[in-house]
Symmetry: C2
Subunit: 293 residues, 2 copies
């Protein structure tokens, strides 16, 4: 078997770390717990090594055979080329030929396929926007909930809770959605404040589905929140150079919701993703191999 | 010495816990480390007991003499009447006759004096708005940075960092203020994101003074941020019933800055506070005594 016939892709996210091995006999995938490089590099490396080893077992490969593969690792929290270099170096003993990048690159390469122009909006617990033009990927957002992640599930949920306090203060109009949220906290704003003081992005994102349901019922608060998120997506995509005719993939659980909230020009451009982030990781492994010859 | 001749006030904040004893021979004040009732009731009680004891020592009073006093405790994080009851009960062995409330009530009673109508905007690391009309205090905001504290130093600092990322993404115009902030993070947005992911309100508030300086230099980002904060203050005060002719006290480090940013109608209403939050705590202790007869 030649080197170029074994490829490995890893999509290491904050919650799940997934690996895929593609050989002549097909593909094998495994998943394990994830981690974020920014907050814990050592645990991220350990998480990736663990899924690589169990993927090798599942594929019927001896660990040493992994070194014959070309691999690409996309990891959440990789924010600079020195991060990427550090991560790939930490895996060289196991993988031999390996490149690394932030997980966003794998999502884009998967959604848009190995080549061609297009745009991606990642709209899950967090958010990012990206555009690939003539092989170059540029991005907007994806900075985390503390300062960004506009339009994301966490951002929507947090904005909904803040709005509930504005209603309490008489600074925003009451709505059925807000009443439903306050009811979850026993109509006690202090409980809401306590919750928010320690809530993670995933904790806030729990409220995003309520917004989707309320939108169907014509709730004005739901429409406001979603329109604000859609406005950010629209500005960001135009900033990245989106123009009518360009394809747009919406990834993450909120894709269907925003397809309804975006202006027609954008929602009509929405196409299903070509593949997953693991497909993207494999295609980046292949590209790195091709670049090296 | 009669009961009514010894009064105790405590202003227990997140950073500092201060106590005052007022007797026939004058006033004695001490300060110690503070705590927030919502996040740690036991430590809050311990912090208050510690300043009460050291204040008694400084005043030349035996601990048992504290029980002759009427006391009022204002504490950060008290958000319901059951919180207030729990706190006062926890101090009854030491103080005898004691009432408790959130610290905002002491700030208002201090700033506006024991009686009379008026409005207060607390504009420090956090924020709140309050209005006292015919003896009743109502408030807007003061919900903490996760969901509120609009216009506060923490809110301004966080908004400035978010704006720096928007400039990086091409979604906001560059400015000298934003360049100065990015320079502090080595012009690396990843460093900024790392800082924000663990920053406390006090960490974000560190950037508020830069906004004040940049305003003098005519920086458009500084003007935008401050106008957004001033707009919230204006809406909140009108919601509380502020009308031309009513007095307005701005408390906290950002008072002078917002005096410049508020519309003339409001800035012309600004008067210096009558007293401090400890003065307010003493006047609430006196009122509680008068109410009991």
């Amino acid at each position: 078997m030649q080197k170029s016939q074994l490829f490995i892709g890893v999509d290491s996210g904050g919650t799940l770390c997934r690996a895929i091995i593609e050989g002549v006999r097909g593909r094998v995938e495994v998943a394990g717990p994830g981690c974020n490089w920014t907050t814990d590099p050592a645990r991220t490396i350990a998480a990736i090594r663990a899924v690589l080893r169990s993927c090798a077992v599942k594929a019927g490969l001896a660990e040493a055979e992994l070194r014959r593969a070309r691999a690409h690792i996309g990891a959440a929290g990789i924010v600079s080329s020195s991060d990427a270099t550090a991560l790939s170096r930490a895996l060289e003993d196991l993988l031999g030929e390996v490149t690394a990048s932030e997980d966003l690159d794998c999502a884009v390469a998967g959604a848009l396929g190995p080549s061609g122009d297009g745009f991606v909006a990642g709209l899950g617990t967090g958010s990012f926007l990206a555009g690939r033009q003539q092989g170059t990927v540029r991005r907007v957002g994806g900075w985390g909930l503390a300062l960004g992640d506009e339009a994301s599930g966490a951002w929507l949920g947090r904005a909904l809770l803040a709005r509930a306090l504005h209603v309490r203060d008489g600074l925003a109009e009451p709505s059925a959605l807000v009443a439903r949220v306050m009811d979850r906290f026993g109509n006690d704003p202090a409980e809401l404040v306590r919750f928010a003081s320690t809530a993670t992005p995933a904790d806030f994102a729990v409220f995003a589905p309520l917004i989707a349901e309320a939108l169907d019922a014509g709730d004005p608060a739901a429409a406001d929140l979603l329109n604000t998120g859609a406005g950010w997506i629209e500005r960001g995509l135009h900033r990245l150079g989106w123009r009518p005719g360009a394809r747009l993939c919406l990834l993450g659980g909120l894709g269907p919701l925003y397809t309804r909230a975006l202006p027609a020009q954008l929602s009509e451009a929405v196409v299903p993703p070509v593949g997953t982030a693991l497909d993207g990781a494999l295609s980046l492994a292949r590209q790195a191999g091709a670049a090296q010859g």
